[in-house]
C-alpha cells in the first residue's frame, strides 16, 4: 500500500515502465554481434544480458590488443609525419 502512495508521488518523467525496459533490452540486442545472425527474433532478456557481458569483455580485449599494437607502432614510426593523415582520417565520419 505504501508503494502505491510512492508511485503517485513520482513524476511521469522519472517513472520507468516495463515497456521502456523492454525497449532498452531490444536496443541492446540490436547492438550485439549475434543479432546479425539471429535477426530480429525475440531473445530472452537474460540471454541479452549474458551476451552483452561477453560482448563488453571482447571489446575490452580489443582495446588491449589495439593499445599493444599502437604502442609498438609508435616506437618505430614517427608520429608527427602521420598526424595530418590521422586527423583527416578521424574527422571524416
Amino acid at each position: 500500500m505504501s508503494s502505491r502512495r510512492l508511485r503517485s508521488r513520482q513524476s511521469s518523467s522519472t517513472r520507468i515502465t516495463e515497456d521502456q525496459i523492454i525497449e532498452l533490452v531490444s536496443k541492446l540486442q540490436a547492438l550485439l554481434p549475434e543479432s546479425r545472425i539471429r535477426g530480429n527474433d525475440r531473445v530472452s532478456a537474460s540471454k541479452v544480458l549474458q551476451d552483452t557481458c561477453n560482448y563488453i569483455k571482447s571489446l575490452h580485449r580489443e582495446v588491449d590488443d589495439l593499445s599493444e599494437r599502437l604502442s609498438q607502432m609508435l616506437a618505430t614510426t614517427e608520429m608527427s609525419s602521420a598526424q595530418a593523415a590521422i586527423i583527416r582520417n578521424l574527422l571524416t565520419q
Binding site: 575490452h60 593499445s67 578521424l90
Partner: protein, 140 residues
C-alpha cells in the same frame, strides 16, 4: 535521462573522444622520445598507458553525467585503471531475469543500468573504431 536514451546518441562526442585520445597519444609519444633507448619494459608500459588514455577519452566524451564515466575519471585520479565492467558486474550480479523484478525501485535501477550499458557500449565501440583508424593510418 531516459528520454535522451530513447532519442538517440550525439555524434559530436565522437570527435571529442578522437581528439582527446590523439592528444594523449602525442603526449605519451613525447615522453617515450625523451627516454631514447626503448627498453622492452617501456613498450609494455606504453601499451598500458595507451589503454588508460583510451578509457579516459571515452569518459571525457561521455561527460560526468554517466555513472560509468564518473567511475573512470575518479579511478584515473586515484592512478589506477578502474575497469568499469568490474563495477557493472557488481551491480549485475544480484540481478535475475526481467520477470523476477518485483518492486518499482528495482525496475528503476535496472532501467538505469541498461541505459548506462547502452551508452558505455556506444563509447567503447567508438573507441575501438578510433584506435583502428589510427593504426591503419600509421601503417600506410
Amino acid at each position: 535521462m531516459h528520454r535522451e536514451a530513447l532519442a538517440g546518441n550525439p555524434n559530436p562526442s565522437r570527435h571529442l573522444q578522437a581528439l582527446h585520445f590523439l592528444g594523449a597519444l602525442a603526449r605519451i609519444n613525447k615522453l617515450r622520445a625523451r627516454k631514447s633507448p626503448p627498453s622492452r619494459r617501456a613498450t609494455a608500459l606504453g601499451g598500458r598507458r595507451i589503454t588508460r588514455a583510451a578509457y579516459a577519452a571515452m569518459a571525457v566524451a561521455a561527460g560526468p553525467r554517466r555513472a560509468w564515466s564518473r567511475a573512470i575519471l575518479l579511478g584515473l585520479r586515484r592512478n589506477s585503471i578502474a575497469k568499469p565492467f568490474l563495477i557493472k558486474k557488481r551491480i549485475l550480479k544480484p540481478h535475475r531475469e526481467l520477470r523476477d523484478v518485483g518492486s518499482r525501485a528495482e525496475e528503476m535501477e535496472f532501467g538505469s543500468l541498461l541505459d548506462e550499458t547502452l551508452n558505455y557500449i556506444h563509447h567503447l565501440t567508438a573507441q575501438v573504431g578510433i584506435m583502428q583508424k589510427i593504426a591503419d593510418s600509421l601503417c600506410k
